[in-house]
């Protein structure tokens, strides 16, 4: 059991992170804290993807001697670059989300003078 926990420690870390983010998004009353929760949520998934490409004792995925591709390349020697490349896209998506969310928060703050969700709902009812 202990071994199970320890060998998979990075995955436990992502589960904790994603739950923290989810808690922040669902429970926090302040919209800025919701946004921070959303970022933690996204980053935990990005970390998960990055870790699945990693291998023990492997090197960066650049084949040193070019032109020898007819020889078999031992995949175990190289880190899988594809999840990392995918996560470059996902990071851009995350940055764009944060940018739009911050712009929305500025508009909300200008309109209501607060970022507390219950106060905004109260103001909207009037």
């Amino acid at each position: 059991m202990i071994e199970y926990l320890v060998t998979k420690h990075s995955y436990w870390f992502y589960i904790i992170l994603i739950m923290m983010g989810f808690y922040g998004m669902m429970v926090k009353n302040n919209l800025m804290k919701k946004l921070i929760g959303m970022n933690i949520f996204q980053w935990s998934i990005i970390l998960f993807f990055i870790s699945i490409g990693a291998k023990k004792g492997a090197t960066i995925p650049i084949i040193e001697t070019h032109g020898v591709l007819n020889q078999a390349v031992r995949a175990a020697d190289y880190i899988n670059p594809l999840p990392h490349v995918l996560m470059l896209t996902a990071i851009v998506v995350g940055v764009a989300t944060t940018g739009i969310a911050l712009a929305l928060l500025i508009i909300i703050y200008q309109n209501y003078g607060t970022l507390e969700e219950d106060e905004i709902i109260e103001a909207l009812k009037k």
Binding site: F41, I52, P83, I100, A103, N111
Partner: protein, 501 residues
């Protein structure tokens, strides 16, 4: 003319045009609108070309971006399933762009129009991309492009819209992240992101628990994006408060494209035995959708705001589509796909009319719309056409898709689903005839004295032609789709459904 590069062009044209529109907006705002119309007309031509090519060929078209062969590179696939949806998106995007010209001029200051049209084209890019792509991760990116432009456009709306957009964004991000995590699971298991490749590789892994987790995450993500009950809560607020010129594009298309993604993932990435018997996702989805249909139909009746009522109707229609998918036989899937296309046009028509009514009468409260047919005869005629189509009165298109949905549910022997579809049609009848009664047959005493005599001369609506004509075109499409539904089924839909059904 060769159609080889059309699959890429249909996505790239609105993408590049959106940047050009933004740049041109700095110099002269008058050129923005013609550019938008030009780009969307080009998209319509590409979509029509693709449809003709697919019908000629009889086989799906494959386009390899950058000439990388499929399992490594991103592939765009056009088959009988998505070419129909591409065409519907192209037609509705073009009509609602024409509609939005005078509507947007009324709703926004001139300086904001270039930004609006930039986002508008980005939204169309995302919708086309989601529909055409054959790569699960590319789908995620395009889903987010469509969502971002939706958040920003919704936030441009009336009071409270920014807050609604923020809530939509929290929900949408959970959905997109869940989808991405599901894609990650599939990638770990197979090492592939191509839909056709996954479809070949996955059956060997169908017993794997990790695959079930990935599948569930994918379904949750898509359910949030398509506003399936009970995760629809972002939809009513954000679409009600969005500007009329925006909601006419967003409301019909983005949830329906989400439903298309559901069908695509179930049919093209997984296969029927997996989601019906091995892992009974179809019955679960069906029961959730049936609950959602009844729930949304009742809530729609409770609304007095016309636009909010239509928003609940969208949730209801998404439920229909999922019920069709869950009956997992040929008839049910035919109904689901036909309803997907029909509902795009029905909702576009009704949202366009609602925008006109709101702009003209300055109210969306259905109890204040009395005698509106005297001032807006044609607009109200379009509204009644849309309403009858949603209820499912033959020969309008809504009837045929509901017919197949009911037949599918009967064949699957899901009698409760049959009851739900018929019951909610009845509830929709109540819903719309309440409004039609208020408009055409108000209580006697509520008729103002100057309108009391019936010989008021017939006048054309005091509505800009640029708004009325697109709405009327959409209403015509409702009739045409009804008359030609058999052609749609034999030419496209029956060939889109895998032969295993």
């Amino acid at each position: 003319m060769t159609t080889v590069h059309f699959p890429a062009l249909i996505v790239v044209t609105p993408l590049i045009a959106s940047f050009i529109v933004f740049a041109v907006g700095w110099f002269d705002r008058r050129y923005c609108f013609p550019l938008v119309i030009g780009a969307l007309t080009a998209c319509l031509i590409f979509a029509a070309g693709l449809a003709a090519a697919v019908l000629d060929n009889g086989n799906p078209l494959h386009y390899h971006l950058g000439s990388w062969p499929p399992p490594w590179g991103i592939e765009y696939v056009v088959d009988h399933l998505n070419v129909l949806i591409l065409l519907a998106i192209a037609v509705i995007a073009l009509l609602s762009a024409i509609y939005s010209r005078s509507m947007a001029a009324r709703e926004f200051p001139q300086a904001k129009l270039p930004q609006l049209y930039t986002l508008y084209l980005l939204q169309v890019t995302g919708l086309f991309g989601i529909t055409i792509t054959g790569d699960v991760f590319n789908l995620y990116v395009l889903l987010e492009i469509a969502s971002f432009s939706a958040y920003a456009m919704i936030a441009m709306g009336e009071r409270g819209a920014a807050f609604a957009a923020f809530r939509y964004m929290i929900f949408g991000t959970i959905g997109a992240c869940s989808y991405m995590l599901g894609v990650g699971y599939l990638y770990i298991l197979t090492g592939s992101l191509n839909m056709a490749d996954l479809n070949q590789l996955l059956p060997a892994l169908y017993q794997s628990k990790a695959l079930l987790a990935g599948f569930s995450l994918l379904l949750v993500g898509i359910a949030i994006k398509m506003a399936l009950f009970p995760v629809h809560t972002w939809l009513p607020d954000s679409y009600t408060l969005a500007p009329s010129s925006v909601s006419v594009l967003l409301a019909p298309l983005s949830t329906k494209v989400g439903a298309y993604v559901l069908i695509r993932i179930l049919l093209s990435v997984f296969n029927a035995p997996f989601y019906t018997s091995l892992y009974p996702a179809a019955p679960v989805l069906g029961w959730i959708a049936a609950a959602g249909v009844l729930f949304a139909a009742f809530l729609a009746i409770a609304q007095s705001d016309l636009k909010r009522m239509l928003c609940y109707l969208i949730v209801c229609e998404i439920g229909y589509i999922v019920i069709g998918v869950s009956s997992s036989n040929r008839l049910g899937l035919t109904g689901a796909l036909l309803h997907l296309v029909n509902d795009m046009f029905m909702m576009a028509c009704l949202f366009a009319v609602t925008g006109i009514i709101y702009a003209h009468a300055r109210t969306r409260n259905i109890y204040e719309l009395r005698n509106l047919h005297r001032t807006l005869p044609l607009t109200m005629a379009v509204f009644v056409t849309g309403a009858l189509a949603v209820i499912g009165v033959p020969p309008l298109c809504g009837f045929f898709s509901k017919w197949y949905l009911v037949l599918g549910a009967i064949q699957a022997q899901q009698w409760f689903f049959v009851f739900v579809i018929l019951m909610s049609s009845l509830l929709n009848t109540v819903l719309f005839f309440r409004i039609i009664e208020q408009v055409y047959f108000p209580p006697r005493e509520s008729i103002p004295a100057e309108h009391a005599h019936h010989d008021t001369p017939f006048r054309l609506d005091p509505v800009p032609m640029g708004e009325l004509i697109p709405a009327a075109c959409l209403a015509c499409f409702l009739i045409l789709l009804g008359f030609f539904s058999n052609m749609l089924i034999t030419r496209f839909i029956s060939r889109a459904i895998p032969g295993t059904f």
